[in-house]
Symmetry: C5
Subunit: 323 residues, 5 copies
């Protein structure tokens, strides 16, 4: 589905051609065209490929989707794939994609399976014509910057939940299974984030510094900035991941300690009752000559002995910290 299509000259809109009028629009005037598609049909992509002479392998990737983040050069063109992450209904991250074709005179963004649009990016760019006037490379930067900026709240959320788990973990009476399930869920979310960030980090490092594609040449400081943002996210991901691994390990130890405490309590109570039962059993024996059975205060004495033994054991276990 076509969302937007505009030809910009010196940072201002000069035409809004349909998909089938793009090449014509570009021929008749200077400037570049910025086209935004969403979940396009094969026909739309085919049309665009013919109009802009897009490389077949890249179009094939855009058609099939499920690409890893990457930037590939085809002659003087770039094809980029990035992941769009959204929090789904069940709290997990859902992965959409945006593919960007960047040529000397065009930018095409193709969005798949994602609610996150880029109208805001276009709006902001149109309000700063001196930047937009830098051409397709700047649009490419602006899109990438927007994609990367949307990763920050996701990693922040993971960090916040993680901190909460860390704080509660050592408090007594935790539901250990809930802790381990939470940690596992966070780890899965981090994995999704990392698969969006790490390959992108790698390719972004090639958009500044050394040999840089022509279309990004003048914008190296901007791409270094994006790279720096990605490095920061990557650092947070690594830190969170380590914390999760450590916390999972700690949680296992705590489970074992918990069990150990229960075993101790069980041991203590079992001993107290077993002692009482053994004593009662002794006075329940049927020997004829058991003088204390005849004593006037035999029974209270027996009860006293049982309570005394139980109390002594109780006190001892209390001191050992078993009860």
């Amino acid at each position: 589905m076509l969302i937007n299509s505009a030809v910009y000259h010196d940072g201002r809109i000069v035409a809004e051609p349909g998909l089938d009028g793009v090449s014509e629009a570009l021929e008749s005037r200077s400037g570049f065209v910025w086209i935004a598609l969403r979940d396009p049909t094969d026909d739309e992509l085919g049309l665009l490929q013919r109009e802009l002479d897009l490389p077949p392998l890249a179009v094939e990737d855009a058609r099939k989707g499920h690409q890893r983040p990457k930037v590939e050069e085809y002659g003087d063109m770039l094809f980029a794939a990035m992941h769009l992450l959204e929090v789904g209904a069940d709290g997990n991250l859902e992965v959409g994609e945006v593919h960007v074709f960047v040529g000397p005179r065009f930018v095409v963004s193709v969005r798949h399976n994602s609610q996150q649009g880029f109208l805001g990016v276009r709006g902001r760019a149109e309000r700063e014509p001196h930047l937009l006037g830098q051409g397709p490379g700047f649009v490419f930067y602006a899109l990438m910057d927007a994609v990367v900026d949307r990763y920050f709240p996701l990693i922040d959320a993971v960090e916040a939940e993680l901190e909460q788990v860390e704080e509660s973990m050592f408090q007594p009476g935790q539901d250990r299974q809930a802790v381990v399930q939470k940690l596992f869920g966070l780890k899965q979310r981090l994995a999704t984030l990392r698969h969006a960030v790490t390959p992108l980090l790698e390719v972004t490092s090639k958009l500044h510094g050394g040999r840089v594609p022509a279309v990004c040449m003048a914008l190296q400081d901007y791409f270094r900035d994006v790279y720096d943002h990605l490095l920061r996210i990557q650092g947070s991901i690594d830190a969170a991941r380590e914390t999760i691994i450590a916390a999972t390990q700690v949680n296992l130890t705590l489970v074992t300690i918990d069990e150990s405490l229960v075993t101790k309590r069980l041991a203590a109570w079992a001993a107290i009752f077993a002692a009482s039962t053994a004593l009662a059993g002794v006075w329940g024996m049927n020997f004829e000559k058991m003088p204390e059975l005849k004593w006037a205060f035999g029974y209270p004495m027996a009860l006293g002995a049982i309570l005394l033994v139980s109390g002594a054991l109780y006190w001892r276990f209390k001191r050992l910290g078993w009860l």
Copy 2:
């Protein structure tokens, strides 16, 4: 066993020589020959070696099999080995191999221990003469692409089974041994996949970009595409592997938690019965002066006391979540 042998010129079949007529067929006309063998005898390989002047060390590898995935250059020739993976009867992956000799005027594919043929590849190539006309390099690409494409459903299957385990793992009453066995099986399957993919990834990276063997020179974009597919599979393998490691760890914790729950239940019921038994034991003592034994309602009172104590304990353990 010879499966196919055809000389192509401008992408069309011009001759179908036997193994012993290959060199003659090539001398008398232009074009290249594409030969497919399956589990060949030493004689067949020896014949081919003489006909096409194949390097002895490479033929030795093809004869012995059990090669790791690789691409080796011998002068203007390439020798490639790739793994063919099939799901066996017991659900494990079985490893076959295909070896490919690529020269300026020939491609020989030798398949070992595998049901997966490449007739489809030949058919598709013959239907696109303009591509097949690019020569042996294109056939090499087409074979590699076919091999790699067949890895996708295998990793997809692993991911699907893994997701199922992840979902069920936290539900109560799981058979923990079945979970750990499943995870271990998936890990083994991933290892097999990785041993097919990782070395191939490494060598494929040398078929585009930098110094590239002459026979692949014009097809760099195609090999980059294969490389990209392999990267994607590798990413999936890494992700699945991490998930399995985490899930195995989580499962151990869950086993320990399960045991802890059982210990608690045991502790609770033991306490309830032990208290009852101790009380009954007291009233079973044989002292002469135990006034309550003579009371009219002594017995119901005792039963009541026993039930009361048991009930109180039951209620307390229920509240603690032990029962």
Copy 3:
């Protein structure tokens, strides 16, 4: 908030301009200006940016904070971010930041969220005019050196606490949960330290040896010294981290051993009481013909038998080390 602003010539103060007089002060005389800000407002940063022509992306970073340690070149300028670590009220490390802009004729340090000032650095520098006379690069070195020197007591504290844990860990009767909590806390502190040190190490390695920014050129031996300090801290962090991982693992084993000991004791006492109870139960049976019940010394004999069996079991368990 402006803390200090001074123009130095040949290592001595020659003027103390306000934020809005910096460019004028530099134009009218030779030397360089050293400005220190703390938690600056956007206006202050904006003013400074115009006065010194600072690069917008760097100023944006300084404004937003939460940067990872880095050194970025913008033409003949450097922008550096470093972490300032302080022990917070709860014993955790709190992360502040200092950003430094270094140009041919200025140094600006911007401190965020930190109590740690650099007045001492300025004082020491002013007492050594021959060093300060080397210009902004030397000030940059002095600031970095001060930041890094403040990491040493933090890692020393971690090492000291860790050593204490190591020593006490194997002593009987430890609170295992306290140990694991302590180890986890130390690991988190180390992570914070590492996120301050590792990226800084990486960038510092580019300030000596190979291609070095012009402003640091003459000071390579100094920056190598800082690099060496960072390497030492990094080594300590790595060692402490490994020790923590090993200690956590050991602690889990010790927990399990502890539990095993408790289980053994429980088993032993349960056996002793169960044997007594079984014996007493036998003599509490109501058979008419139980000759020993009539014996004069039947009861003492029974008590003796019970004590004998209990004693024998006790002695046996003692020898097994279960009690």
Copy 4:
């Protein structure tokens, strides 16, 4: 001890000098000498050093033994050390060594602590004069190839034993200690193999492709073949190692599951007996007014009640899978 000494010209033996006649034999004719020593005395090595002008540091290494696998260049000479592995009496791997000095006109192999000779290598080389005629470099290759080929059955044995453990591990009633002991033993064997293979892999990679020592120059394809074999072994080692780590982890989980099953059974039987005892205790109380004690069918009823309760519990635990 001298085992063999022969001067070869054009691949055929032309002289068999003693240790003290080597230099003379070489001076008087063309060709090269191939000397094999086993556990040589210091005198023998000293003699050889003078005759062939061997570098002192290399001879020192050969004298002391306990070298890691390596290839070192001394001018136009090579000194190589490789590990010879043998299955010892206790099933562990025993490490011997072979040191090889390769010069333009000599090859000396020195074997330490190993039963594995190289007579077969010499025999095979003598049967192929056209290969042996390539000089000392070929002999070096043949020795290395023989050493590496002997690693294959060792890793195959590890893989076979590992597969057996994997298959039996999940079957009920395993001796878990035997499993863990087996896995530990396999891991140790793999470590020995890896310490033979990994350093050799590293040095072999320098004998083909880039800058290659003169003596190996013409044999690069051969050394690449050895390198490829080593890569294959390394791959197998890595795979086996991962499997062992995973299996050890799985085994720990299985131990814990086993324990959990036993605890459940214990809990179940304890509950059944405790219920019976409590009931019997109740009817063993001495209250005067316990009407059921007087009933004609009181006793069978009581027995019935006890059996009923026990049976109900038994049935319940059976259904829970605890029994």
Copy 5:
């Protein structure tokens, strides 16, 4: 404290100046001076710095100590720091240091916190004037070689103790806590060794092969030899470390297996006694009509029944391997 100071010419002593006469002694004759200090005062270091014009940053390092192993170039001078390891009273490794300044005409070794002197090195060097005549670089090599050679017995001791643990670990009745404590201690010792060896390995690799400091140029084969020794130690450290990790993991499994065995025994004995008690309880009930109570052989029969049940259970548990 000054230990030794001598000027050597052509490998022989020609003067023995005090610290304050060094520069004078060097001016008046050719050759080089070799000075050995131990725990020097600041004054001594200051004096030496002025006499030999040592670089301030290096002297500062030597004064403060606690350096990581390193070799730094200052113009035509080298500053090296190495760790001296000694087994302390408690069996742990204690870390001392030796710093070496190497200039074109001097070598200064500064020893800290260590009993290990280098008189033997000096003696050996003086006995081989042709080697000592090679100048300061040779002395530097001799010192480094001596330091590294002293690491071998330390790693050998670790390996021997580790082997002992490995052998005893699987024998029944081990003190598991002692095992884990031993393994932890060995790991700590290895960590100390590694922190001495790994950084030294890295710097030593720069003293041969590529660009080498002038003072070491002629001695590359010697430094490669030291490098090779360090590689060997490193290999041993890595192997021992892996074994420790595996053994710690195995030990945890063995602890759990041990506990499992105890739980089984407990379960078995509990069942036997519980059955006896339940039976005795039944015949201890007070029903009026319990015909067997009146039988002549009722009591022996009851005892028999109890023994029979106990025996049957005992036999069954024996067969299950629980007792």
